[in-house]
Symmetry: C2
Subunit: 113 residues, 2 copies
Amino acid sequence: MADPTPDAKRGTVDLAILATLELQARYGLEILEEVQRATGGGLAFKEGSLYPALHRLVKQRWVVSRWEDSDAGGAPRKYYELTDDGRRALARKREEWRAVRDAMEVFLFVGNA
Amino acid sequence: MADPTPDAKRGTVDLAILATLELQARYGLEILEEVQRATGGGLAFKEGSLYPALHRLVKQRWVVSRWEDSDAGGAPRKYYELTDDGRRALARKREEWRAVRDAMEVFLFVGNA
DNA sequence: CGCTCTATATAGGAACGCAAGATACTTGCC
DNA sequence: GGCAAGTATCTTGCGTTCCTATATAGAGCG
């Protein structure tokens, strides 16, 4: 049981991944670093969440992947890139998140429910 | 498949329930109505999500329940009430949500990732 | 009694996120 | 060559959440 995932974090992975791929293709671990950097450590997830999520996104054709050799020496990297469908999905998920965020605001202050 | 639950909605149920119980005890269906009213329909969930969630909360001793006859005639109602632990959990979950919300803000605007 | 409204409850299934471990390629050093 | 260390992808097994659909039951009414 140890340290269960905070409920609030649920459902944030796909949007975070898609957003980090918006301006450039990235490989797996690079996405993790980028999410951590962009949120100042406020959001972070691990490989065990990342790779299943990426495979999900590929299956839905929101991203495509290609192998590429590492610049810096080391294991080859698999770069992930947004498709047009992926960009549409990203826009949709942004709106979804905005709507939920706005609705939840009501519950953040004492007595507003 | 039809209309899958938006990812963004995940993890919002417990906080919504706890918040609606903050100022007064309520019974099951009343909680649903209250969540819908408070969010202007922006958040809503069904009995199949509500009752398992309530039982979870009881098990954690964040709420307690008691039966009461219906005023309006009809089936008896089970009222749920926050415990002190429940109030602490509510405060904690509010902070969790705030932190995730703030972190996710980064991903809502083009190029901010 | 049968019907409807209100209300609580559960079973079954799908999806998510995590910890832990498995696999594999590259470099550097002996 | 052999071997460890570093980088990177991927899989397995588990627990949790949420939903659809269904079951159960009391109260009032004709």
